[in-house]
């Protein structure tokens, strides 16, 4: 069971981390342009903020589950995380610029 839980945690946390990593890579490239494309960089930094919040919400949802001594199955954890994320309505970044 622990394996399934860690797999669910890995998946839910790696999604926002992947978005943060790719957005940061894009921002670095926009900064290196001559002249730097600051509007694009600003938008990408907003995306990074949103995805950091999403990751934080995911962690908070697990902690809430743990503290309440609730069902700790992978499915229950995943459902709890999805509930919290939906409530928070983590803003997805805009379309490709």
């Amino acid at each position: 069971m622990l394996q399934a839980v860690t797999a669910a945690i890995a998946h839910d946390l790696n999604q926002p981390l992947m978005a943060i990593s790719a957005s940061a890579g894009a921002a670095l490239r926009r900064l290196r342009c001559d002249p730097p494309e600051l509007d694009a960089v600003e938008a990408l930094l907003h995306d990074i903020v949103a995805q950091s919040q999403r990751a934080g919400c995911t962690v908070a949802a697990w902690q809430a589950c743990g503290q309440q001594g609730q069902d700790l199955s992978a499915d229950a954890l995943h459902a709890a995380v999805q509930d919290v994320l939906a409530a928070h309505a983590a803003r997805p970044p805009g379309v490709a610029r």
């Binding site: 790696n14 999604q15 790719a22 890579g25 995306d47």
Partner: protein
């Protein structure tokens, strides 16, 4: 020839948008898809391309998409991304024809390196497919008599032997041979033999 194109298939809107932003910042043309079905229905490109694909998706997952592409005879290089890579999953992905298997979060440079390698690989395949299509068109323009001559000539037969096999004069055999070389765009006999191999035409008999 159209510019190289990167397909991005991930059901997570944030991941998809961020990867598209990264590719755009690198000056690469890219298109995003939220589901395997949407990708399979809409994607078509005549230049070099590659697919960056999430493994875990509802309905069609990454391996399903790879299986569909394989059934269609597509050679599109696939870069798989996964949130939790296990060894059995990696083996499955490689068997499904993946050129890369990357674990999220993938470093931007790592993803771009994989994409560039995949596009170079596909550009080679596109060139190969174009050459084959050209050879097929040239071969289709040969008359039945010229086609017969071609199968004899690639076996290394002398003009006299070709003439005997065709039941014509040696002068006539030479004329057929010259027309075959011209129409196939072959400058030498080794050229013609190489083209025949690509077209999987076997020699009628050898000397």
């Amino acid at each position: 020839m159209s510019a190289p194109l990167v397909y991005v298939l991930d059901d997570d809107a944030a991941v998809r948008a961020s990867v598209l932003n990264l590719l755009a910042a690198e000056g690469l043309e890219a298109r995003g898809y939220a589901s395997g079905a949407a990708f399979v229905d809409e994607s078509s490109h005549d230049g070099a391309a590659c697919l960056v694909c999430d493994m875990r998706m509802p309905e069609l997952d990454g391996l399903d998409v790879a299986a569909i592409l394989a059934r269609q005879g597509s050679e599109l290089p696939i870069i798989f991304m996964t949130g939790h890579g296990t060894i059995p999953l990696t083996v499955q992905a490689m068997k499904a024809g993946a050129v890369e298997f990357l674990t999220k979060p993938v470093a931007p440079d790592e993803l771009l390196r994989a994409v560039r390698n995949a596009l170079v690989l596909d550009a080679g395949r596109v060139a190969g497919r174009r050459e084959l299509a050209l050879l097929r068109a040239r071969h289709a323009s040969l008359t039945p008599r010229e086609r017969e001559t071609m199968t004899l000539v690639i076996g290394g037969l002398l003009n006299k032997q070709v003439a005997d096999a065709l039941g014509v004069s040696e002068i006539m055999a030479k004329t057929h041979k010259r027309k075959v070389m011209e129409k196939m765009g072959a400058r030498s006999l080794p050229d013609l033999v190489r083209y025949a191999e690509r077209l999987r035409i076997s020699q009628a008999r050898s000397r």
